[in-house]
């Protein structure tokens, strides 16, 4: 809209219609995302969750901004010491600083949670839309394959895949083990999202506006991207935000079993797993990583909810 010609046109049309000399906001072409943003920026919950998200992302990118302690420095003599001036969150079982480890743990937990969710949404979303839109054989094929994965017990599936690719004795790199965990979570998690996307799209598909769009000349891609997807976004988004949290939790479960992330990787999941049995003697080592995990999940859920509300024109 920065081209001078267009601006002139806008001024002209403004003259024609309202007799005013300046183009008004009404001339600006707006769409789904523009309006969604207009709503979002007026919501308190959105800003709160955004600030928290930025904090977590800063922790992920620059943990040294928050602590200058080495998260791997261990002094066994101080094992399970409570919070003190020198160690804000106390000392963990291995004599390491809980605050430093919680800050450094944000990186793996958030990366694993968001990337696994992203992979799940992409995989489940695409397959769900395809199944719903093309129906018949495509649907049968995708649905049955999805059910095969769904039938696989989560932990069992993870043990088999992780045990094969990255056995407990091996010593994979940090990047490698994170990638594998992300893939495992996505591979085992996509069928649920596929089903959600599929049912949302099937519901949207039978609406009159899809038929009307076809009658007015829209092709399959336009129907999928302009009609089916925007109208199916809400349930997918809600599920995705919850999934981020549950994936961070799942990562912790896998770590507890010794097949997920493992030291020297630092993550909230590992911290929780390591200290779960010391809840009565040294709750601080469990409490702080768990609190950060909850706050992080809450952030994503609130953000997702705010975006979902803003996307629904009827709630405006």
């Amino acid at each position: 809209m920065s081209e001078p010609i267009v601006t002139q046109d806008l001024v002209q049309s403004a003259d024609e219609h309202a007799g005013s000399a300046h183009p008004t906001a009404a001339d600006k072409p707006r769409g789904l995302w523009g309006d969604t943003w207009d709503i979002l920026k007026r919501r308190k919950i959105f800003w709160i969750s955004l600030v928290m998200l930025v904090l977590f992302l800063l922790m992920t990118a620059f943990p040294t901004l928050f602590t200058d302690k080495d998260p791997n420095y261990a002094d066994l003599a101080r094992s399970m010491e409570g919070p003190s001036e020198g160690a804000l969150f106390g000392i963990d079982l291995q004599g390491r600083d809980v605050f430093a480890r919680t800050i450094y743990g944000a990186r793996t937990s958030i990366i694993v949670g968001t990337m696994a969710t992203l992979a799940t949404v992409v995989l489940g979303g695409i397959t769900g839309v395809l199944a719903a839109y093309y129906a018949r054989w495509t649907d049968i094929l995708i649905s049955r394959v999805g059910e095969m994965f769904l039938g696989l017990p989560y932990v069992l599936g993870a043990i088999i895949i992780l045990g094969t690719i990255a056995p407990a004795q091996s010593n994979p790199s940090e990047f490698m083990i994170m990638t594998v965990v992300i893939i495992v979570l996505a591979v085992l998690g996509w069928p649920i999202l596929m089903r959600i996307a599929r049912s949302a799209v099937i519901q949207a598909k039978h609406q009159d506006y899809v038929q009307a769009a076809r009658a007015l000349g829209a092709g399959p891609l336009r129907i999928i991207f302009k009609h089916l997807l925007p109208n199916s976004l809400a349930p997918i988004l809600v599920y995705a935000t919850i999934t981020i949290g549950s994936f961070i939790g799942a990562e912790a479960t896998l770590s507890l079993l010794g097949i997920g992330l493992r030291p020297p990787v630092i993550s909230w999941g590992i911290a929780i797993a390591d200290h779960a049995q010391y809840i009565r003697t040294g709750a601080h080592a469990l409490f702080f990583p768990a609190a950060f995990l909850s706050a992080c999940v809450l952030t994503f859920v609130m953000l997702g909810e705010a975006v979902r509300d803003a996307l629904d024109p009827k709630l405006r």
């Binding site: 046109d9 707006r30 009307a212 076809r214 009658a215 007015l216 000349g217 829209a218 109208n231 024109p313």
Partner: protein, 343 residues
Amino acid sequence: MTEVLSAPSGGGTHGGALLEVEDLHVEFRTRAGVAKAVNGVTYRVDAGETLAVLGESGSGKSVTAQTIMGILDMPPGKVTGGQIRFRGVDLLKMPDDQRRKIRGEGISMVFQDALSALNPVFPVGWQIAEMFRMHRGTSRSEAKKKAVELMDRVRIPAARDRANDYPHQFSGGMRQRIMIAMAIALDPEILIADEPTTALDVTVQAQIMGLLAELQRDSNMGLILITHDLGVVADVADKIAVMYGGRIVEEAPVHDLYRRPAHPYSKGLLESIPRVDLKGHELYAIKGMPPNLLDMPSGCAFHPRCPYRRDNCVTDVPALYPIDGARGSACHYWREVLDGDSR
């Protein structure tokens, strides 16, 4: 604005009418059996002409329209015979991508319930603008400008401000105007309006019909008006095709049909319109039920409900007998109906 409004010349050089439906057969294959929804419908519409297709639910009027548009769900729907010629070319034999180009630009459609026919998550101006962006590749701001012009043209007050509103923020009549604006955005030569006023209250119905008639006059479109409401079409239509059980049972210029129906079904419909001078009398209703499409009556589909029934009605399917050249009736005893008294 004038170039937007300019009328397509219509007709063309192929000799026939702009849109010709010939002997169209459509059926639905369901688990319960084969439902024959359209059984040999033939009609034609020319530029500047209004054809009203009249019939009750299940008479095949909407299915015919959906088949013309190519938006019938197949399966379960299936076209088993006939032709739909637009500018002389059979649409049913056309490849999908070519046919898609005709939708919206050549033949366009207005749906019954504009609330559900408009995408709820986009502003209406955006949706109208999308027509230009989709078919013509117009720039965003230019398309938006044209969308506002169209909203003005269908008389939406304060069009420029309201273009950013969402479908649910409009009243029923206004929504239908927006739907009409979308449908006429690209100056189609044929506009199909499928029960455009059914979801509206009576005063708004008249306004929308007036708008459609006016737009049609301005741009010389062919208009196919699908309705079950005889009252709606009287002032607007040139000719009427009455459908029953997937067939056209009577076709006539609108005033001929109103004055002297030539098929017992049309006659029954006319008599079941409430009239002020018959206030206090019991309102006439056609007896019986609409035919079951899975199990059509033998012979004339209307025979179980027909007061003029004779023995051969049960066995022989009546052809559309021509009457005075311009009209036709699919009744063996059309003469009797035409000359007969009320009831």
